[in-house]
């Protein structure tokens, strides 16, 4: 179980990386912590000709506060987000979520940007950052663009990234001090992939009532929160809101997603 022979570059600047990623003569892929790509390479599910390692690019490893937003570089590791050496505008959401991603040895290498670019529907950041209303800053040789999470994840392993582009930053809006957060994952084992994820953010001060059903067969399902709460937030109402979505492929899946959402909402209500 060994990877195909590939070339490797470790540029020191974002511009140098983007230049390599723009090459059209070889099959090129960016890599950060290699915690998702590494297994795919070993299994030969990914067979690139050139890997561009972006983890030595200093600006991608920074976390800074910009007004009411936290700007997280793509190569910030889950472990750093777990340990919390930054002004956490999410009032604990980021560290608590980071702490339940896979295992510590994986969190030490795996990055938030890599996780988003990989776009596994079961991934924590894919669903949590959708619920938090984050934006993704994408960098390419043509410049930068900011995309809301709801438009960034397009499907299973599908994102808005164009060839040659990488995730550069994630912008997470600050929560008000009245904000309440609920998060529930259905996993068969600790650290295992989620089979149904419920993520709920209620932040009245900012007029946010966002419910997300994740780990679906498609992109995260964002439910119209106000409508759901207006419907009394019953199980039947949740199921109705999920009907027809990638969370409702079969009755068992719909049931499990409804329960995950219900339990996340219960955390908010308690």
């Amino acid at each position: 179980m060994k990877a195909v022979d590939f070339d490797y570059a470790q540029p020191a600047t974002l511009d140098a990386a983007l230049e390599l990623l723009a090459r059209e003569d070889v099959m090129v892929r960016p890599v950060a912590g290699s915690q998702s790509l590494g297994p795919m390479l070993n299994l030969r599910l990914a067979q690139p000709e050139l890997l561009v390692d972006i983890t030595r690019i200093a600006e991608l490893r920074t976390i800074r506060q910009e007004g009411d937003r936290l700007v997280i570089g793509a190569c910030v590791t889950h472990a750093r987000l777990e340990d919390g050496d930054y002004p956490d505008v999410t009032r604990g959401v980021l560290p608590s979520v980071a702490a339940v991603i896979a295992y510590r040895a994986v969190r030490n290498r795996g990055t938030i940007g890599g996780s988003l670019a990989h776009a596994d529907p079961a991934a924590d950041w894919v669903n949590v950052l959708t619920a938090l209303g984050a934006d993704v800053v994408i960098a390419g040789t043509g410049g930068r663009r900011s995309v809301p999470m709801t438009d960034f994840i397009l499907g299973v392993f599908e994102t808005a990234l164009q060839p040659g582009e990488i995730v550069a930053e994630i912008h997470v809006p600050a929560l008000s001090d009245r904000a309440r957060w609920g998060y529930y994952k259905v996993c068969r084992k600790t650290g295992e992939f989620s089979h149904a994820t419920g993520a709920v953010l209620i932040d009245p001060a900012r007029g946010v009532q966002r419910c997300v059903a994740g780990a679906t067969s498609g992109k995260p399902v964002v439910i119209d929160g106000p409508a759901l709460f207006a419907d009394g937030c019953t199980e039947a109402a949740m199921a109705a809101h999920l009907a027809g979505s990638p969370a409702a492929d079969d009755p068992i899946a719909l049931r499990t997603h409804t329960v995950a959402l219900k339990r996340a909402i219960a955390q908010v209500m308690s």
Binding site: M1, D5, Q10, G38, A102, Y103, A105, N108, R109
Partner: protein
Amino acid sequence: MSTHAKTISLTINGTRVEASVPPRQHLGDFLRERELLTGTHLGCEHGVCGACTILIDGEPARSCITFAVACDGRSVTTVEGLDDDPVAAELREAFSAEHGLQCGFCTPGMLVAARDVVLRRPDADNPAIRTAMSGNLCRCTGYVGIVNAIRRVIDARNTNAG
């Protein structure tokens, strides 16, 4: 025999090493095949079982899904490099007393992960130990002896600190 071989320079168990590596060679294979540090075991090569866990710059990492070429300039510690580490010594003693190993194949990764738990989670109760260790699989022990061994080390350190 890769046409893409890169020269890397890193510290392994305290010793400076310079090597030419094919980029596709993962760190586990590099340590085992080139450096003959066969204490690092490969149990799945896709990052789940934890047998290959080593330290990179002091932090636990999977050597099977980390490529050697990405470790240029880093400091890598394997189980062979923990002979004189005080926490590892306490864990070895406790693993033996509590029968925390049988075939011994998962053991090097277990020790590296357990050392991290002891250092990072001195307050851990048994359920917390289990959760923190959940990235390492063992097929022999049923985990009881391993949990008891980590418990013993944490308790002893807390008692001595108190």
